[in-house]
């Protein structure tokens, strides 16, 4: 049982860390991209959206190359934090963060863009700074977008396969997440076990969809 649960716990751990880190990244980038005008803003938005269209194997390949111990980024991580990025949990966490970035940032930016400009301008004229306006006026009015961003990021990370396989491989207890476990058991012709993992992910996805619908109604009333 413990052996069966290990990939599921790892997927959960990866999803929780990815969502928490991206929540911070999403809110900060939402603040910067929405509240400030600067050159290159469109380029940054395009780069954030890139993982939506880039094949996961391509992204995984580039991250794998970039995180090799003899590469600049891989060397920095190893020297500064003492961690090897490739074929480790840290590696798949970084890959997962990059791959899920648009799932967190895009809903937040869309929510902010949809708010009337006069709301933030009214806040400025009432003596509030950009930062105060962002947290006191804008964030409370994009609750459903924030919620959608968190859920989508979490759910997307749970089902991640390509990037994780490219960067982390298939190491039990370290990088073998649930979606890779399905692949592994299929390869080993353990169809029963593969079926159980697939069923768990299917039920999880359904629960997430119902949860999103239910909570969005609650948030709309809140």
């Amino acid at each position: 049982m413990e052996q069966f649960m290990a990939p599921l716990w790892l997927s959960l751990k990866l999803a929780v860390f990815t969502t928490l880190i991206l929540a911070l990244v999403g809110v900060v980038s939402g603040y910067v991209l929405h509240m400030f005008s600067f050159r290159g803003k469109s380029l940054i938005r395009a780069i954030i959206a890139l993982p939506l269209v880039l094949p996961p194997t391509v992204l995984g390949y580039y991250l794998l190359v970039a995180m090799q111990p003899d590469s600049f980024a891989g060397g920095v991580f190893e020297k500064l934090f003492g961690v090897r990025m490739v074929f480790s949990f840290y590696g798949i966490l970084l890959g997962s963060i990059v791959f899920s970035l648009p799932f967190m940032v895009s809903p937040i930016l869309s929510g902010l863009d949809a708010l009337p400009k006069s709301l933030r301008e009214a806040s400025f004229t009432l003596g509030k700074t950009r930062l105060q306006t962002f947290f006191k006026v804008l964030v409370p009015n994009i609750k459903s977008s924030l919620f959608a961003a968190f859920i989508m990021t979490f759910a997307h990370t749970i089902g991640e396969f390509g990037v994780v396989l490219m960067i982390g491989g298939n190491i039990p207890g370290q990088t073998r997440v649930a979606s890779i476990a399905i692949f592994h058991e299929m390869e080993a012709m353990n169809y029963d076990v593969a079926n159980q993992y697939a069923l768990v992910l299917l039920v999880f996805s359904l629960v997430i969809i119902f949860l999103v619908q239910w909570l969005q109604k609650r948030i709309a009333l809140w």
Binding site: S118, E121, A122, F124, L126, G127, P140, N141
Partner: protein, 238 residues
């Protein structure tokens, strides 16, 4: 001669309904005065208010408050530091806050409960304090927006066609309340409006704009009389 509280002499390119204009305006506001900005749509009334509020930066020229420069090629004071009040055309009430919290948001430092009660009484919104903006009528939203803009006792109040969406009797009522509060605070006010009657009742100075330029200014009756005469001439030509 009355000392100028605010002065604006600047240019700004702006667009309205797909057309580009260039605002070239010179304006002086004396302390406690009420100026109505009038003119056809796209004349630059809102752009002028936004320049005074610091929501737009001028392309050239200077905007100053007494001896302080608010906007110039080398300096810019952000809107939150200008100690102004602004009533937007769409009122811009915060949907997540109730009426009381919306008004409290306008206080710069600690909430002055006596002043808050006074605002609620004058604008007749005491019974609405727990309501969210979405459940209010246009007139009620207008009153809350005015109360919020006046919460911090601003030195300059800017009003962008604040009563455009209200019916005649409601406008009359709110005009009275607004005049009462402005008199109490000795606040300088600038209002963009299309309403001749409103300008005559509230303002002591009218500035008529066309295509971004001031074409006439003075006492309300004189400016409006000249404008009516011009319109009459135009109609005769047709």
């Amino acid at each position: 001669m009355v000392e100028a509280a605010y002065s604006l002499d600047c240019t700004k390119k702006y667009a309205d309904r797909g057309r580009s204009f260039s605002l070239e305006a010179e304006l002086t506001l004396s302390k406690g005065s009420f100026t109505a900005l009038m003119g056809p749509s796209g004349a630059g009334k809102t752009t002028l208010l936004r320049l005074l509020a610091g929501l737009e930066k001028p392309d050239s020229g200077v905007i100053s408050a007494s001896e302080f420069v608010w906007s110039s090629p080398s300096a810019f004071v952000a809107p939150h530091l200008r100690h102004i009040g602004y009533v937007f055309q769409d009122y811009a009430l915060f949907p997540h806050l109730n009426v009381k919290a919306n008004i409290q948001y306008g206080f710069r430092e600690e909430v002055d409960n006596t002043w808050l009660e006074q605002l609620l009484t004058v604008f007749k919104i005491q019974d609405l304090i727990n309501d969210r903006p979405a459940s209010l009528s246009g007139g009620q939203q207008q009153r809350v927006a005015l109360a919020r803009a006046l919460a911090a006792k601003p030195a300059l109040l800017l009003l962008d066609e604040p009563m455009a969406a209200l019916d005649f009797s409601l406008r009359n009522e709110i005009r009275g309340e607004l005049k009462q509060m402005l008199g109490l605070l000795n606040t300088t006010a600038v209002m963009a409006t299309h309403d001749l009657l409103e300008a005559t009742i509230l303002a002591d100075h009218v500035v008529w704009l066309e295509d971004g330029k001031v074409v006439r200014e003075g006492a309300p009756r004189e400016v409006l009389k000249a404008e009516l005469l011009r319109l009459k001439e135009q109609t005769r030509d047709i």
